[in-house]
Amino acid sequence: MDIDEVQYLSENELISVVPNFKHPEIHLIRGSVGPFLPLVPLQVPMWMAIHLKESHRCRFVCPEWLTLDSVQELLKQEQQQDTFTPMPNPYVFILTQTIMNVALEDIPNGDQIRLLMKDLWDSRLAKLRSSIGNLARSGALYAKVTHLTQVEICLIRNFLKTSLKHIAQLQDAIVEE
């Protein structure tokens, strides 16, 4: 339930990297990775990519959902709609932060993308706040939350659990009278 655990889960996602060393195929539990050849891009899990980057043995390839154009598109759609737009990946925000921390220089227009992501995050957070308010006021005891990313669910989980629990208890008490 913590952000740490969401980060742990996000590190299982695959990402493209370009290694600068040679190594035969590695057979991991979740499938084989490799063979590693210099300047040939391949998909590896995120935890391995972070390790490689920090030991200066690879370069990240920008994932399609993190290019300047697609982020701008996402932001535009988010700002035009009142409801949440679907995100390309359930771990968008956490992966963006991880990638920016580790490999900022590999992402073209990295700083601009960071700012756009922050705007995206802020607008979704604002929508979250208002929709939670509406949920509480309406007295409904369930809600559809498709298109929310894992991080956002984590954020509101504890708050929604306790507040919905209180609302449910109060509703039961009213009916009994």
Binding site: Y8, L9, I29, I153, V175
Partner: protein, 227 residues
């Protein structure tokens, strides 16, 4: 460590054919299923069915990897060794966290756990019994013997179970739908005012938050998973 390092799991790893029983999982499937079982257990307020098969298979896999890691001729700083070691640690963490979550649920509601023994593994049964007995003795010794003898109740198991708290099925959970389900009825048992019960259709990949009691059955049939 040989170059073609694969992890034969129970039978042969590269057999992805689904036979009558679930034993021929690839290690990749095992990982996915264990991770999902861990998440489900974490977020559900009650104890779910123990995934004995997954746990045993993971133990075997981890033992196997550990043996290979220890007996490897490569240096312990080689890339291959480090990667295997990292993945081993990650899998070990999930397994331990799963067992830890279940143990803490048993400790919170031991009598409810013992009531539904089919959900526990044999070791957990022993653990639950021991824990409950120790608690009973401790409370008896420290409190009940100090009270007047008329107030000392018989430690009848049935009355004890009725007195102890049960886990709350009304807790709210987030979940995502794996298989579409039509016409799920959210019954409001204490609904005296005649308001209609809500009927919802679940489509694949929708996410919802609602009370656990409504979706308990769907979770057991693996049509949804907790998020």
């Amino acid at each position: 460590m040989d170059e073609n390092n694969s992890y034969p799991l129970l039978l042969s790893q590269n057999d992805i054919e689904e036979e009558e029983d679930d034993d021929d999982m690839t290690s990749q499937e095992l990982f996915q299923r264990l991770q999902q079982a861990w998440l489900n257990e974490k977020y559900s307020p009650i104890l779910l069915k123990h995934e004995n098969l997954l746990v045993l298979a993971t133990f075997e896999l981890l033992d196997d990897i550990e043996k290979r890691l220890k007996s490897s001729e490569h240096k312990t700083t080689s890339f291959r060794w480090l990667m295997h070691r990292t993945e081993y640690n990650r899998l070990y963490f999930i397994l331990c966290s799963y067992i830890r979550t279940r143990c803490s649920k048993i400790e919170e509601y031991p009598s409810a756990a013992l009531n539904s023994e089919e959900l526990l593994s044999p070791e957990e049964c022993v653990y639950a019994h021991t824990y409950l007995n120790n608690m009973k003795q401790h409370l008896k010794k420290s409190v009940l013997t100090e009270l007047k003898s008329e107030q000392q109740q018989n430690d009848d198991d049935i009355t004890l179970i009725q007195l102890l708290p049960k886990p709350n099925l009304n807790d709210f959970v987030f979940f995502q739908v794996d298989q579409s389900v039509n016409g799920v009825i959210l019954s409001n048992e204490q609904n005296n005012s005649g308001a209609p019960n809500d009927i919802i259709d679940f489509k694949t990949d929708d996410q919802y938050i609602m009370q656990f009691k409504h979706i308990n059955k769907l979770l057991n049939e693996k049509q949804i998973h907790l998020v």
